[in-house]
């Protein structure tokens, strides 16, 4: 298991290298540098700045320099925030995004699985229909619409919860709900479908015949199988959460990675954009690894290495 994990981790390195190279190429060949101003800078100053950030060197040399720095865990200085380097910015912003993301993830898993299970147990009832209508709304509503509605309704009109900023646990409630809405709804739909698929299988009938209570049958024998489908969604789920964080952090003025990324793109702060992209690439590689391991653990038929017995 550990060996397998290490091999898979090593396979992620070329992926990261490709992501780094492609992003570097994309951004370096774009017109318009970070030091373009409405009013042009005097050429000698511009030259100085470019020398300071090695922008006057041949592109290939810049690329090698970037990779060498990368290997040392140095993502270079930010072009926009003078005197701070990218790693420093990411280190400050990342914990904020992680807290928000984990809260949303927990909310989505618990809420989605419960809702899906209940809907499947009472298939066809009013409760089922109500839950699935909610789920339909959940997958349809854009996060900026839901976020705006929550800010306006709960934050400003009712005044129950803080509508913006990041100064304590209470500040995380509305953003976490906004971020979790889409994955919760999707997980609920997924769980309901796969529970219904499993519910008529032989081993479930046997469990019932043994006289187990209905709740126990569902928790022990149905849900375990149904969870496999949910686990396969964890990979894309990370991308969904990251995409959502761009919007949610913007709406609630949260100083996380997503917010820095949006400003970095507008400012053409190349090193910061690259840094965020790489960090997300790393997260994705790790998440996929975690999903594979979790999958192997949940389903003993799947031998490590991806072959099915």
């Amino acid at each position: 298991m550990i060996r397998y994990a290490l091999v898979r981790l090593a396979q992620g390195i070329p992926v990261l290298l490709i992501v780094a190279s492609v992003t570097f190429a994309l951004l370096r060949f774009l017109p318009g540098g970070p030091f373009d101003r409405e009013k042009a800078l005097p050429p000698e100053i511009l030259r100085n700045i470019e020398a300071r950030y090695h922008l006057d060197e041949p592109v290939f040399k810049q690329y090698l320099r970037y990779l060498a720095d990368l290997a040392r865990g140095d993502l270079g200085p930010s072009y926009k925030y003078v005197g701070r380097d990218v790693v420093q910015i990411l280190r400050e912003a990342f914990p904020v995004s992680v807290k928000l993301g984990v809260a949303a993830l927990a909310l989505a898993c618990v809420g989605g699985i419960c809702a899906g299970l209940v809907a499947a147990m009472y298939r066809g009832s009013g409760l089922d229909r109500g839950l699935m209508l909610l789920a339909l709304l959940g997958v349809s509503v854009p996060s900026f619409v839901l976020g705006a509605a929550l800010v306006l309704g709960v934050g400003l009109w009712l005044g129950w919860l803080p509508a913006a900023l990041w100064e304590g646990p209470l500040y995380a409630v509305l953003p976490a709900i906004t971020l979790a809405a889409l994955p919760t709804a999707y997980i609920a739909q997924l769980t309901r479908t796969s529970v219904i698929d499993v519910i008529d299988l032989d081993h479930v009938r046997t469990a019932r015949a043994k006289g187990l209570s209905e709740l126990r049958v569902h928790l022990r024998h149905v849900l375990r199988n149904a969870l496999l489908a949910v686990v396969t969604y964890f990979g894309p789920l990370l991308a969904v959460l990251l995409t959502g964080s761009f919007v949610v952090e913007q709406i609630f003025a949260i100083p996380g990675i997503g917010r820095f990324f949006v400003t970095a793109v507008t400012n053409r702060d190349y090193p910061l954009v690259l840094g965020v992209t790489l960090l997300y690439g790393l997260l994705v590689v790790l998440a996929n690894l975690a999903v594979d391991l979790l999958y192997a653990w949940l389903d003993p038929r799947i031998r490590l290495g991806g072959r099915e017995a």
């Binding site: 994309l26 854009p142 800010v151 990979g235 761009f246 793109v265 992209t277």
Partner: protein, 277 residues
């Protein structure tokens, strides 16, 4: 198709109608200013109220339907074209080619959409030098959306082709001397068109959502064009005092996305009962 599916289809029909007419569904042009009546809530004259420049919000939302829908449809077509070709070839050839092609897809697939769209937009804007400034951003966004959507279509197509390839009728066709290209295009493709159609129905709302999100962040469409995302973004800034500014564009997006999802689910049930898509 079930009743909810028809409801979705009806909603979308209205939407297409509005998108075709644009601001013609109201008595105002989308850029026309009524300086006597700025930032007014809904009234008999302006059914959805006016913005800070006195422009009719209903006219702007209707015009936004045109931009949002046009972008979503064209990028979905692009995504289908690339995805079906790429995935089809990958699945049909199989083996090492397939493994390499799919490795590339996996990387793009697992990165967050918005990140890829924003990066691609920058590239296209730099590359499309022959296009007038006004349309360059629009075109760049359309291309970026198509390229992001392409990946999931490729994955689906590959899986379907892999399955179809093993079936007896494909073997029979091959035994009769049907060539590779003809087999893929004339035999396999028509057979998997059902799930592909269902996927397309889900790609369109995904494109609308992605476009409006990017535009909401201020990284997508820019004036003079206004998509729903741009309108919502403008409305968000003044939300506390003038909630109608964000209400109407948001409603438009929500109703559209619900419509597409209803139609998609119904189509899935009707033409793809095995749940392949």
């Amino acid at each position: 198709m079930n009743r909810l599916g028809w409801l979705g289809a009806a909603l979308l029909l209205v939407l297409v109608f509005v998108a075709l007419l644009g601001d013609g569904v109201t008595a105002y042009r989308f850029h026309e200013q009524d300086v006597e009546h700025t930032l007014e809530g809904p009234s008999a004259n302006h059914l959805a109220g006016t913005d800070a420049l006195g422009r009719d919000l209903l006219a702007r939302t209707a015009q936004g339907a045109r931009v949002s829908l046009l972008l979503a449809l064209s990028s979905t077509l692009l995504a289908l074209a690339i995805g079906v070709l790429y995935g089809g070839v990958s699945g049909y050839l199989g083996g090492r080619v397939d493994a390499w092609l799919m490795r590339g897809v996996d990387v793009v697939y697992s990165l967050p959409d918005i990140l890829v769209i924003v990066l691609l937009m920058e590239v296209f804007q730099a590359g499309l030098t022959g296009v007038p400034d006004l349309y360059r951003r629009l075109l760049a966004l359309g291309l970026a959306l198509g390229i992001v959507g392409w990946v999931s279509v490729a994955r689906l197509t590959r899986g379907l082709v892999l399955q179809a390839r093993e079936e007896a009728w494909v073997e029979a066709a091959r035994a009769l001397g049907v060539g590779n290209r003809r087999l893929l295009l004339r035999y396999i493709l028509p057979n998997i068109s059902g799930p592909l159609l269902v996927t397309a129905t889900f790609r369109i709302p995904a494109a609308i959502l992605a476009e409006s999100t990017v535009s909401f962040l201020g990284l997508g469409i820019q004036p003079p064009f206004a998509s729903w995302g741009v309108l919502a973004s403008d409305g968000f800034a003044a939300m506390r005092s003038y909630p109608h500014l964000i209400l109407f564009p948001s409603l438009a997006i929500l109703v559209t996305l619900v419509g597409f999802h209803l139609l998609g689910e119904a189509l899935r049930e009707a033409i793809d009962p095995r749940g392949r898509a």
